[in-house]
Symmetry: C2
Subunit: 569 residues, 2 copies
C-alpha cells in the first residue's frame, strides 16, 4: 500500500501548522479592521505561496508546499474536503423559511440582485470580451456566463456578519437583505452548477455528462423536498438512538460527503451537493444548536482557512496582477451589483437611504466569488490574470459594503463593554476597604488615565452623591457606581476587584467583589442604561464576580467576557 | 501542481462516507452491548477491507479503497492526521494533578501496572520468541521490548468510560484507578517513544537519529514544565484577543501539529509529540469546557473512526489469523496485566475484592495497544500474524474488563430514565381531561403492556390514594403520580403529554403538560426517589414540559432526554 514517508509526514504537519497559524493571525488582523476573515486567510496563502515566500525564499516554499508528489496530493485532498465541508456549513446557515417569511420584498430584492448584474455583466462580457481578459480559445458563451455568475453571486455569511456588527440584523432592512442573500445564494449556486454541467456536456468527458443538467435539477429538487423531509424525520432517531452529540455530527457530515460525491459524479462540482444537502439538513428544527456550533466552529476555523489560504498557494498574485483588468472587473462588479441591489430594493418598495443601504449590503461577493473563480480556473475557463482580478473584486466588494452602509445609515455605534475596558482602568485588588474609598480609588484612576481632562474631586462628588441617593449594589457580588458627567465625550468604564468584598447594600445582601465605575456623557442619557444592563446580564447569567475573583489580571478578566465559561481551579 | 482528478474526488468522498457510516453504525452497536466503540470502528474496517469486502467483491474494494495512487495517499494523509489529532485529545484528557492528588496508592498501582507486565512479557518473549511469532531477521531485543510495551500499556479512555458507566468514577477506587491509568499512559508512551528512537538509532536512517533518545527526553521535560506554563499563560491572551471559540480551538490544534512534526523529525513517531502537547494544553485550567468539547467531539467522532477503520483496511485479518498465536498473546497479556494490577493494588494497600477489581480495571489495552501495534507493523518489527494477534488481544482485554468488575463488585445498577421509557408506555395526547382520568389512562396502559401481571384497578387505587394524600404536581408543567407496588420486579415508568394541561395542584400553579407515572417495587424504597429526582432535575434545568409539547412522538421525546436542547419552531 502506498503510504507517506516520515519526511512526507513532517512536511504535512509543518505545512498545516504554518498555514493555520498564518491564516489565523491574518484573519484576526482583518477582523480587527472590520474586514472579513477570509481576506486575511487569502493573504496568508499569498504570503506563503509563490507570490511572496516562493519569490524570497524558494527553497522554504518548495519544502513546505511542494507542487508535486505525495504532499501536493495530500494538501489537495485536504483542500477539497475543506471546501466541501465549508459549503455544507454555508448550506446549513441557509434558512429557507426566512425567505418565505419576508415575502415579496425579500424575493424581489433577491431576484433583482442576481438577474440585473447577471444580465448586465453578460452583455458587457459579450460586447468587449478582450477588456475582461478572455484568453484565446475560450468559448465566448461559457466565458461570459461564468464571469457574470462570479459577479452576481453574493456572500451570505459576510452580509449577515456585516449586519450583525452594525446591529441591523434583526431590523426590517436586515431581514429583507438576509432573505434576499439566501435567495441569491441558492439560485446563484444552481445556475453555477448548471453551467458546470453545460461545460462537461460540451467537453464530453465523464460517463454521465449528457444527463448533467437534468440530474442537477432532479437532485436539487429531490433533496430540497423529499430529502429535506426525510432528514427532518431521521434526526430525532439519530438523537434518540446514537451517542450524543457525535451521532448527529457524523450524520450531517456523512450526508454532506455523499451529496458531494453524487454531484461530482454527475459532472458538476462536489461542493454543490454539499451545499444543497447542507440546506436540507440545516432546515430541520430538530437539529440542535450544539451540533450546529461544533460543525460550524471546527469547519470555519480549521477547514475553511486551509482552503482559502490554499488558493493563495496556487497562484502567483504578483506575476498575474493586471491593473487595468482588476479595475475593469471590480468596477463592473460594483456597478452591476449596486444597480441590481438598488433596483431590487425600490421594486420591493424601499425608499431613499434604505434602498441605497440594501444595494450596498448586496454588493459583497466574498468567499462565494472566490470559490467560483477557483473552480473556473481549474476548469480552464479563465486565465490566471482574470482569476487574480476576480479575487481582488471579491475582496474589494466585501470591504466596501460595510463602511458604505455605515455612511448611509449612520447606525448608532453599539457599545460593547468588551471594547470599553482597558488595562489602564483595571484594578486587580483595591487598596481601599470601604465603599467611599473604593469609589475614590477608581475615580482618581479614571480621571488621570484618560486624557479627557476630568476634574477628579468633582467626579468623585457626583458618583458619591448618586451612591448616597441609592446604593448601586445589584447583587451577585457586583456593584455599578456611576454618574453622568458634563463635557465627557465618550463613556468611561473602570473595573476593580475586591477579594474581601465591599458592602454596596445589594438586595441579595452579598458583598460586592467586582465593581464597575461607569461614567457617561451627560448629553447621552442612553449610554448609562445600556452599559449597566450589559453588566447586569453578566452578573445574572454567568456569575461574573465569582469568576473574576479567580482571574489573575486584566487579560484573564477580558477573556472571561470574550470566552464565557468558568476558570476552573 | 499535482491535483486530484474528478474521479479521485468521487472516490475520496465516497470512501470517507462509506467508512464513516459503517464505523458509526458498528461503533453504536458495540456501545449498545457495553463494548468500546473502537471495537465497532475496527470491525468496520475489517468489513470494508481485504478481509471481507475485498474477498467477496474485490472490484468494489479496489474502487473505494485503492492501494496505490492519489487516493491511497490521500487516505493515508487523513489517517495520519486523524491519529495525530486523536493522541492530542488523549493527551488533553490527562489531568496530571489527579495523579498527585491520589498520591501513593495511585502511583503504586500505576508503577506496578506497567513494570510488572512489562518485565513478565519481556521475559516470556526472550525465552520463547517463536511462540510469540517473532519473524526471522527481527532484532530479538527490539522485538521483545515492543511486545512488552504493547501488552503493558493501558487505555485510559476505555478505563474511564467503564468506571463512569458503572457509577464508580467518583469513588475512591475509581479515582485511584484513573490516576494509575494516567501514570501508565504517560510512562508507557515515553517508553514507546524511546524505543522508536532506539530503532532509528539502530537503522541509522534520517538526519538526527543519534540524538533521538536525548531529544525525546528533553522535549518531554520541556513541554511538560516550561511549555505547560507558557501555554497556560498564553490561553487567556488567545481568549481575550482572538475570535471565540475558534481562536482557542486553532491554538490547541496548531500546537499539536507542531509538536507532532517535531517528534516525527527527531526520529520517533508524530503521535508522541501530539500526545505530550495535548497533556500540556489540557492541563491549563484556563482552557474552556466548550473548546474541549468541540475538539473532543469532532475528533472522536470524525477523525478517530477514520484511523481505526483504516487499520482494518490495511490488513487481511482472516488470512493472517493464527489461533494459537492469538491465544498465546491474549492469555499472556491477561495474566501479566492482571498480575501487575492486583500486585500494585495490594502494594498500595487495597484488599480483597477491591484489589481484584482494580486489577481488572487496568487490564484494558484498547486503542493504545492498537496504535502501538500499527506503528510496530509499519516499522517492520512485527509480522502481520502478530499484528492481528495484538489487535485481538487489545480488544479482548477491553471487553473482559467491564463485565469482570461488574461480577466482582456487583455495583448497583444505575437507573437512567432514558433506559426505562418505551414507546409502549407513551401517550402522545391523553384522551382523558381530568386528573383521575389521566392517571387511570396511564395505569391501564402500564398494566396491560408490561407482562408483569399487574392488577390495574388495584394499582389505580394505590396511585390515586397517594395522589389524594398529597398532590404530585412538581411545577414547571410536570407531574409525577406514583405508587409502590408489591410484587413488581422492575420499576415501570409511563409518560403522557397533555396539550391543554391537567391541574395537578403544583406549587407554581402551572397545569401539568408532561405526566410521568412511576410504579416501583415495594421492596425497593430507593427506586422511587431516584427516578423522581431525575425527573425533577429535567423539569428544573431544561423546561422539559415545554419542549415535550413540541415533540411529535416517542422518538422526539426520547431525543430530548438524550440530546438536550430545544426543538426550535
Amino acid at each position: 500500500m502506498q503510504t507517506l514517508t516520515s519526511y512526507n509526514i513532517i512536511v504535512l504537519l509543518m505545512s498545516l501548522g504554518v498555514l493555520l497559524t498564518t491564516a489565523l493571525a491574518l484573519g484576526e488582523l482583518a477582523q480587527r479592521f472590520h474586514q472579513p476573515a477570509v481576506l486575511g486567510e487569502l493573504l496568508a496563502g499569498v504570503l506563503l505561496g509563490p507570490t511572496v515566500l516562493g519569490a524570497l525564499a524558494p527553497e522554504i516554499g518548495t519544502f513546505l508546499f511542494p507542487l508535486q508528489g505525495p504532499n501536493a496530493i495530500a494538501m489537495d485532498a485536504l483542500s477539497t474536503l475543506a471546501i466541501v465541508l465549508f459549503l455544507l456549513v454555508a448550506g446549513m446557515e441557509i434558512d429557507l423559511s426566512t425567505v418565505w417569511k419576508q415575502g415579496r420584498v425579500g424575493c424581489k430584492l433577491g431576484i433583482a440582485s442576481i438577474a440585473v448584474p447577471f444580465s448586465m455583466a453578460l452583455g458587457a462580457a459579450f460586447v468587449m470580451p478582450g477588456a475582461f481578459g478572455r484568453h484565446v480559445g475560450a468559448d465566448p458563451v461559457i466565458f461570459a456566463l461564468f464571469l457574470s455568475i462570479a459577479i452576481s453571486i453574493s456572500a451570505l455569511p459576510i452580509i449577515a456578519k456585516t449586519l450583525m456588527d452594525m446591529g441591523l440584523y434583526r431590523t426590517d432592512l436586515g431581514m429583507v437583505v438576509v432573505s434576499a442573500a439566501i435567495f441569491n445564494d441558492i439560485v446563484g449556486w444552481i445556475i453555477f452548477a448548471l453551467l458546470l454541467g453545460l461545460i462537461n456536456m460540451g467537453s464530453g468527458h465523464g460517463g454521465s455528462v449528457v444527463m448533467a443538467i437534468p440530474l442537477t435539477l432532479i437532485f436539487t429538487g429531490a433533496v430540497l423536498t423529499l430529502g429535506r423531509r426525510l432528514i427532518h424525520r431521521a434526526i430525532p432517531f439519530v438523537q434518540a438512538y446514537t451517542r450524543w452529540p457525535g451521532g448527529e455530527l457524523s450524520f450531517a457530515l456523512i450526508l454532506g460527503l455523499f451529496g458531494a460525491a453524487f454531484t461530482e459524479w454527475i459532472g458538476i462540482h462536489a461542493i454543490f451537493g454539499a451545499f444543497i444537502v447542507g440546506a436540507a439538513v440545516g432546515d430541520s428544527f430538530h437539529l440542535r444548536e450544539r451540533t450546529r456550533a461544533i460543525i460550524d466552529n471546527f469547519i470555519s476555523f480549521i477547514f475553511a482557512p486551509i482552503f482559502f489560504a490554499g488558493i493563495g498557494l496556487k497562484v502567483n498574485f504578483f506575476a498575474h496582477f493586471d491593473l487595468s483588468l482588476v479595475i475593469m472587473v471590480t468596477l463592473t462588479a460594483l456597478i452591476c451589483k449596486l444597480a441590481g441591489g438598488i433596483l431590487g430594493a425600490r421594486w420591493g418598495g424601499m425608499q431613499g437611504r434604505e434602498a441605497l443601504a440594501a444595494g450596498f449590503a448586496m454588493v459583497s461577493v466574498g468567499a462565494m466569488g472566490i470559490i467560483v473563480g477557483m473552480i473556473a480556473l481549474e476548469a480552464g475557463i479563465i486565465s490566471r490574470r482574470l482569476f487574480v482580478a476576480l479575487i481582488v473584486m471579491a475582496i474589494v466588494t466585501s470591504m466596501i459594503s460595510g463602511p458604505s452602509i455605515r455612511l448611509i445609515l449612520r447606525p448608532e455605534k453599539r457599545r460593547k463593554l468588551y471594547n470599553m475596558l482597558s488595562s489602564k482602568l483595571f484594578i486587580r485588588e483595591f487598596k481601599a476597604r470601604s465603599r467611599p474609598g473604593v469609589i475614590q480609588e477608581m475615580v482618581y484612576l479614571s480621571c488621570t488615565g484618560n486624557g479627557q481632562g476630568l476634574d477628579a474631586p468633582a467626579v468623585n462628588g457626583a458618583v458619591w452623591s448618586r451612591e448616597e441617593a441609592m446604593s448601586t449594589g445589584i447583587g451577585s457580588g457586583v456593584a455599578i457606581p456611576h454618574a453622568r458627567i458634563k463635557g465627557l465625550k465618550e463613556p468611561l468604564v473602570a473595573v476593580g476587584i475586591s477579594s474581601r468584598g465591599i458592602d454596596f447594600d445589594a438586595p441579595d445582601g452579598r458583598a460586592a467583589h467586582l465593581i464597575f465605575l461607569v461614567l457617561t456623557p451627560a448629553e447621552d442619557p442612553m449610554a448609562q442604561l445600556e452599559i449597566a444592563s450589559e453588566i447586569a446580564r453578566l452578573a445574572r447569567d454567568m456569575d461574573i464576580a465569582d469568576h473574576a475573583l479567580c482571574s489573575s489580571g486584566f487579560t484573564d478578566f477580558l477573556a472571561l467576557l470574550k470566552a464565557p465559561g468558568a476558570i476552573k481551579k
